[in-house]
């Protein structure tokens, strides 16, 4: 196995560059007077969530690695390490990332883990670091098993996943408006990902891509950013705290409360865990689908537009 696939994960190696870019973004916003907003408690919470994620997932990641290694050992053919397999693995990881990400938004169990990343009402480079502490139990690792069964070594997969996450850092910004047209057409960009972080009805559940936005275009989840509908960032119901522990666990607490209500059937309890976020047995809350429907009812002139 090549040396660069062993040792410290690439995301940890990239951390100093992340911090330098965050400081640069703050200075740029100050100098230009536009192109993003920062708030000290929010930024501190985001970076602390990133720190917690590195530590916790660094430990629990061993279990994920073991599972993938087991699958790799069962693979009938082992891929050699070369540039072609590296590139192929990178594309496969990005394709898989799209589906993991889509699952995380469409199933409450996955959402309970991923919601952390969307819990800030800001969109700046620190938001990229606001990552889950519960990646192991989210179930996302199972999506990677087919790649290892195809003979790609888990270390190569981990390396490609790290590169994928590093790519995703830079586009969490409002400093950059639009990239060149050809780039916007193929790659994930600040504009595309602002849509993903927005809670405007038309933007909910859109743009799940990691690196290549083409996956969203292929699978019908792409929505372009509109000047007439500026993104509002955060959750449908924003958090009332900066406490990292509460930020990391609040959706799990919600699941326990909801599924533990008296008088529910087993199916309803399971739905509170695995149905789409916002599902409710008595219509007390709304899913993103219902929010979109309500919006179109109030604004029929927008019916049929992308995302609605």
């Amino acid at each position: 196995m090549p040396e660069f696939l062993q040792g410290t994960p690439v995301t940890i190696l990239a951390a100093p560059f992340f911090i330098v870019l965050i400081l640069a973004e703050i200075i740029l916003i100050r100098v230009r007077g536009t192109g993003g907003e920062y708030e000290s408690k929010d930024a501190a919470t985001s970076v602390f969530m990133g720190l917690g994620s590195s530590v916790i997932n660094g430990i629990t990641g061993l279990a994920s690695g073991a599972l993938l290694l087991l699958a790799y050992l069962l693979a009938p053919y082992k891929m050699p390490f070369n540039w072609f397999t590296l590139l192929t693995c990178f594309v496969l990881v990005d394709f898989t990332y799209y589906w993991i990400h889509r699952y995380m938004h469409r199933c409450r169990w996955g959402w309970a883990s991923h919601v952390i990343h969307h819990s800030s009402q800001h969109y700046n480079l620190t938001t990229a670091l606001r990552q889950t502490w519960t990646g192991l139990i989210s179930g996302g690792v199972f999506f990677f098993i087919p790649i290892t069964l195809m003979g790609f070594h888990p270390a190569l997969l981990g390396f490609c996943y790290g590169l994928n996450l590093i790519y995703q850092f830079w586009f969490h910004t409002e400093v950059i408006n639009k990239c060149p047209r050809w780039f916007e057409a193929i790659m994930n960009t600040p504009s595309h990902h602002r849509v993903h972080h927005a809670n405007n009805p038309r933007y909910l559940d859109a743009n799940y891509a990691g690196v290549f936005i083409t996956w969203d275009k292929m699978f019908g989840t792409f929505v372009a950013e509109r000047n007439s509908d500026a993104p509002r960032y955060g959750l449908v119901s924003d958090l009332g705290t900066f406490n990292p522990l509460r930020v990391a666990t609040h959706e799990y607490v919600g699941i326990i409360k909801d599924a533990g209500q008296k008088g529910l059937s087993l199916k309803q309890r399971l739905w509170y865990i695995f149905a789409e976020p916002g599902w409710c047995h008595d219509d007390g809350r709304k899913s993103s689908r219902q929010i979109k429907t309500d919006y179109v009812t109030r604004h029929p002139e927008h019916k049929g537009e992308p995302g609605l």
Partner: protein, 143 residues
Amino acid sequence: MPDLLLVVLPSLFAIVLIVLLIRMTGIAHPVVLETDVPVEKTIAEHFEGARIDRIIRSADKFGALVYLNNAPGLVLVRAIGDRMAVRALNASTIKSLEGDGMSLGISLHDFTWPKMHLDFTDEAVRVAEESAIHAAIKEHAHA
């Protein structure tokens, strides 16, 4: 697994550095509810078509109680950094109301926003508002 200290210590240093730079550059503008305007804007964003009856701002200028003429009836607004958080108040979201002198503690069934204090100018106003909240919740429950 990378050496934990190599991750933790630089990260904590980075947090301090980022916070200091944000403060020094003055780019953050925490919300202080000096007027009703930010509350009205927040209500318009979260409850399209809502008609505000009256707004009671807390004396500490960080929260407000908003009475609406239409659903959801009663709303709690809170400044959180330079943004606002909003919750509709009803029988299922309020855990308890605890009046004490000029202060009214509102406990919520909400893990990320379990409690909030609204400070009033005098005790009589607090008592009146506490009764008004009870009435609004009852009215909305029957609506």
